[in-house]
Symmetry: C2
Subunit: 313 residues, 2 copies
Amino acid sequence: MKSEDVLLRNILRGLAGHRDLVVGPGDDCAVVREGKQFVLLKTDCVVEDVHFLRRHEPARVGWKAICRPLSDIAAMGGIPKFALVTIFSPPDIDGTYWHAFYRGIRRAARKFQVTVAGGEISRQPHGIAISIALTGTMEGARPVLRSGGRPGDLLFVTGRLGGTLAGHHLDFEPRLAEGRWLSTYFRPHAMMDISDGLGSDLPRLARASGCGFEVDLASLPARKGHTIDAALTDGEDYELLLAVPARRAARLLKEWPFPRTDLTCIGKLTDSGKAPRGWPGGWDHFPVVRNPPLGQRAGVPSAKSRRTQIKGP
Amino acid sequence: MKSEDVLLRNILRGLAGHRDLVVGPGDDCAVVREGKQFVLLKTDCVVEDVHFLRRHEPARVGWKAICRPLSDIAAMGGIPKFALVTIFSPPDIDGTYWHAFYRGIRRAARKFQVTVAGGEISRQPHGIAISIALTGTMEGARPVLRSGGRPGDLLFVTGRLGGTLAGHHLDFEPRLAEGRWLSTYFRPHAMMDISDGLGSDLPRLARASGCGFEVDLASLPARKGHTIDAALTDGEDYELLLAVPARRAARLLKEWPFPRTDLTCIGKLTDSGKAPRGWPGGWDHFPVVRNPPLGQRAGVPSAKSRRTQIKGP
């Protein structure tokens, strides 16, 4: 995904702006102004043999296809509204597949109150692909960007990380309620969703905020039976990563109203802009061991005491 | 495209509506309410070996990819605003291709004043595909739907039809200015863009309006060197098809302010709901020959006198 990041950044550089374009390419969603409202715009896709396999139930593929961009709406603290679904269908797939696929879309649409406003089907010679574009609203709240983090902010993640290929990647629930509560009542300095793994995504948030970072690896909320390495690199977690001022961290943990969603403090933003050593290349290379654990967790036992930490870019 | 129409209609039936969803799937664009404004939403796609070939210049592919949904915005009489670009890139394609592709996007975006608000790239094992979602505004005008036609309305098409594979399908200009002028100053009863060929698209407009239709085939503005059959069935014309009250037809032709865009009267809507005989299956089977030509054309010599006509569903 890294090389795609760079390619997109290069390509999109030099595109004209617009007075109503508040946030362009590079954050979880684009933010545009419609009258006095902020509107969120997001597109994402799933591709056979990249994000799912032919043997996966089509309804779960539909669920995943729409929940991925929903997770980006969640990461801005927004409320999803309308969806446009574009289907690329190869000759060896028939209507039965797409009916089942839409059962997943419909289930997610009902659950997260999205309305499918339009759909398109095109033939494609090989392989299934789907892209979904979403609009969302902020209804008074301000969108939470990746770029607002400040040195000293504590970093939190929701839920558990890693081991997603066992099924979570097809069945996850985007953290819409959590993101919305955060944007409305708590206003984190920065937020994003973890889709490529904390190892890739945390540096993005730090870079967008012009910060470095430190993480207490022992505090990472790895999914049961999975390693810290998996929590860093597996990806497809669709959890929220947020940066909050240290002085409000205790209140956040105290007031967090989602008993079934863990909230774990995993580290902090720093003013170092240095390139990370061994991050996120792999577990073996994590070199920096530092002082007290930042790990705190709401709804689950507090972090263990392994003191491994790493400095980020 | 017919079977895809049916599949989509079946799939999308039963999806929940929304109080702000004014026009859902089935028209050129979805129309939603944002405060006091109408907002248009559209997604469309191009696929290698379906809509373009590997040997086509990527900048032209980019142009086509964004101009296709722009043509749908034009067909509602809207003003395009933001674009989201989703790219599916196979391993044998590198960044050079996408840079060139984006030159085409950028040229169209500048010319038609669209802002690229977001982009996404995903790997795909085989073949190139691109989907583009657009938002548009109506700024005071009301969107022109497919469904507003009434028996007796005269049917007009812009430009020339058929023979598009020679190059037009990669280089066409969406009729945004024309569509906007029509929605603002003239308010056709119904309008759509011709993307699958008049043979497929006119029955859609008629059906949506609960009408039948008659066409004076001799009046069809076939592209130079191409047959009426080509004009009916080639597709990828990206011209506008509109229905206007007969009493305003003369004024439309007189006031039409686009000297470089032909406007041709090709027939009328009728109250017959009968299934078409031989439409659009092929030239050989056109059976119905009827009276005086409806053909009138602005900006070009008036229609020839061949009196072939056909009744539609």
